[in-house]
Assembly symmetry: C2
Homo-oligomer: 516 residues x 2
């Protein structure tokens, strides 16, 4: 057998396109296997809920430290993502908040879904003693996102929720931030060891092939993914084609439509125009919830809004995308869109300096988007980066016709006037039109910014997600669990979670009644 | 285009193998499309929870009537399944109980998963007003089981839970009971119409190809299936390969292992032997939870148990399987297994009279099942019908070695002595070994009989089910819903479920706290 040199993994500075340092080598199939087996062996150490809540809190504390001034984590992340220290510091704080939120969820224990039924001979058929709760699925594969080196990567929502569920994790690092991934993984492992949990509880592998090996590994029980439709669908297909298929919770892509009513445009054209500019250019347009299709009315109010948008986008500086491939795709993508018939570019998006891109937006008559199969269908595909498409409509029917053609979305937004928000006009109808399209519906807000909260839902119909789950918020933990029921099992053998006297004080359904 | 005569769908009497009557014709792709579109159009009528709870209760009432003496439903079901009027009457009662249980679940509303968060500026990032609940996925395809013409077919758990969730249903009828399927569908449609719901809320199609068309239909949003590994996996693969993949909740197959400890065998050999005989021959062995692999100790206690099993199985009458293909498969399957080296048949299973099969069981040294790739691997595959395999073990390690090789199961059972049940010996260890294998773990019971109860879990690791869901019990409703969050949405536009004043009195999580 020929010896093949391991492929190097480089940290690259997107501001210059230059290699910064070699961080690692791509993992071989054997190394993926080792990482998964080490994770599998860490399961028992995660079984105790008290231990894992403490582990999550320590991980947050150590990450906070690592992100503090002079500790180089933010510096390293900025050097390979160009996201800037302010944004990265905020993202790390969010990530730590999220780890602590999951620790609280572990402590509360509602996610265990405890249900206890005592025997009932009056039921048809009779009910025996039955006690159900949820147990961890096993090793979870997490595929990091390019655009959030902390919040949707090694220490992000997928990892935090999986560890909270009791599942060890093997992360496939994103090639846009391998150095950050290694640094963060070492911090989390240090937290684990402090609580007697083996380092293997968090594996980290680099390389495209390693990612494919990972989802096929027999001991991998589920996967979480944030990325593109193409990459996500390939992994989803691999997960479904396994001899034993596994749940694949992927967040793939979203257009995030925004409807601006005539009355809203008339009421606050400038506020909406500048708000939209801020949302679509935030993080150089690299948010999965960036508004990518906006319905604005024809006529004076809409013109005024577009004028404000034009001014605000023109004032927005060029920025550096996460890598040069994305920059190439953005420049080609916006050029192809701008060349379509009847498409105008009040602010032309495209290449900035050698390493940057300039934000911009396109306009198109909404009616052009209503018919399937035309060249304008391209405008209904996500374009990653600081660009949006403003569809100018004549009638509400045009909006309905385009919305009915959209694939699933993470978010859908409506801008209403004060009167419409109070119940006048078509507000209710518009919400009813938007709800089937998305996992989160916003009124008079902007979709960028995804709060870590119990009521959050960051998911939506395909391709927004490949399942009905969320990757942000408390219920994200549900992805990594499966129920098991114990029938006629003596008290002496029951786990404490399922005992009548409820020694752990868990919320539960007891003989049909909810108990907190 | 040549005109092809529609393929007839016959009701067949398995007691004679003769066609009883032509019930329908197989649905064309166009007819499947019509059924799905009619179901889609019925969604709005199901939106009101009060209406759909009332509909489910009326469906139960009308089915009760249809199953009463002289009303011919039981007669028709018996004529094409040979399951006998006693069993079928009980199954119908269970089915009606289940419909009413889901009506209660609809009324309670906990399944909506309401979560309300008010703005919190102290969070990182700040939390806006967010309100989440669950909405119906859309049209659900239900694939009926052969072995339960009521409880896992047209009016069964998949249909009841989908309707309860607010999802219209199109059922693919099982060819073993097409007449029963038509009768029951007409009853449920009658119930729908009484509540102003269009008949299309429950579609029914016949034919293998129609089933394939159904899972591929763009308006079908999810599927439920109970049947074989082969058929279920083919449909699962089709669901995953769609341009827009959909959740496929399939229950495919299960061996349902039973471990009998040495002490249990010594304590009550006769009770366990006769109990096992009853469970494995119940419904002519056609239960998905039939114990198919039983670990009994070598030596005197085990011999005594096998003696009791022999006596009880010998005393069990031959029976008619659901169709002749199953009979052929059973006869060939048990013959192939019985010919394996060191396999004995204390009671030989196989052909009875021309249309029946005789129950029996096989024994094999457990050590033969521990090594992968040998001829005895066949004994670890489910054999549908009245047969089980008793693996005689020398040591607990042999049991562990075989259990570690098993695919997922619906159930796993252990028979313990009184002392072990009280905490002596290896009871806890055995439960820990069985839990990863199954969705329901039983102590000193038998897996046949699946109670309709809040704490029930009828599912398990693949191939027991293709997802982490259950098809029986209250939580089965979760399969047909997806969450949606409303952000900064004015009270006037919020659905009543999400309003602060909780006009519907729903259980919810409100600013982090659980409220009942």
């Amino acid at each position: 057998m020929a010896v093949v040199a391991a492929a190097p993994v480089w940290s690259v500075d997107p501001r210059t396109g230059k290699q910064r340092e070699q961080v690692a080598v791509e993992a071989t199939a054997q190394e993926v296997d080792q990482a998964v087996r080490a994770a599998q062996d860490a399961r028992a150490a995660l079984a105790d809920r008290t231990v894992r809540a403490a582990f999550l809190r320590t991980a947050a504390d150590l990450l906070d430290e690592a992100g503090s001034a002079g500790a180089h984590l933010i510096e390293a992340a900025d050097a390979e993502t160009a996201l800037g220290p302010v944004r990265l510091t905020g993202e790390l704080a969010r990530t730590c908040f999220q780890l602590r939120a999951f620790a609280d969820i572990v402590d509360e224990g509602a996610f265990l879904g405890v249900v206890i039924d005592h025997p009932d001979d009056t039921a048809t058929p009779p009910i025996p003693d039955l006690r159900r709760y949820k147990i961890p699925l096993g090793v979870v594969a997490v595929y990091s996102a390019s655009n959030f080196p902390f919040a949707f990567s090694v220490p992000g929502g997928d990892t935090a929720s999986a560890l909270a569920a009791g599942c060890p994790v093997v992360v496939k690092a994103h090639p846009d931030h391998p150095a950050t991934s290694e640094l963060v993984a070492s911090v989390i492992r240090r937290a684990a060891v402090q609580h007697g949990i083996p380092e293997g509880v968090l594996g980290l592998v680099h390389g495209f092939e390693a990612g494919v090996e990972l989802v096929k590994h027999p001991l991998v029980a589920a996967a979480g993914f944030t990325g593109s439709v193409r990459g996500g669908r390939a992994l989803f297909d691999a997960a479904a084609a396994r001899p034993v298929p596994i749940p694949f919770h992927g967040e793939l892509g979203s257009l995030n439509p925004v409807v601006i009513t005539e009355a809203a445009a008339a009421e606050r054209p400038e506020q909406i125009g500048t708000g939209l500019a801020g949302s679509m250019t935030l993080g150089v347009g690299q948010f999965c919830v960036k508004p990518g299709l906006v319905f604005a009315p024809r006529g004076e109010a809409g013109d005024s809004l577009v004028k404000s948008l034009t001014a605000a986008v023109s004032d927005t500086a060029a920025g550096v995308l996460l890598d040069h491939r994305m920059r190439d795709n953005f420049i080609a993508g916006v050029a192809e869109r701008a060349e379509l018939p009847d498409v105008d570019a009040p602010v032309t998006p495209g290449a900035g300096s050698e390493h940057t891109v300039s934000p911009g937006f396109l306009t198109v008559p909404a009616a052009h988007l209503a018919q399937q199969g035309g060249p304008h269908d391209l405008l209904l595909e996500e374009c990653f980066g600081p660009v949006t498409v403003v569809a100018r409509y004549e009638t509400a029917d045009e909006i309905t016709a385009v919305l009915s053609r959209l694939p699933g979305n993470l978010t859908a937004t409506v801008q209403l006037s004060a009167g419409e928000a109070a119940g006048e006009g078509r507000g209710t109808e518009i919400l009813a039109e938007l709800t089937p399209l998305a996992g989160r519906v916003l009124v008079n807000g902007w979709p960028t910014g995804v709060a870590v909260a119990p009521a959050q839902h960051h998911g939506g119909p395909y391709p927004a997600t490949t399942s009905t789950s969320t990757s942000v918020g408390g219920t994200a933990i549900e992805r990594w669990l499966r129920p098991v029921s114990y029938q006629t099992t003596p008290e002496a053998l029951l786990p404490p979670e399922l005992r009548d006297d409820n020694p752990l004080g868990l919320p539960r359904r007891y003989d049909g009644r909810l108990e907190n």
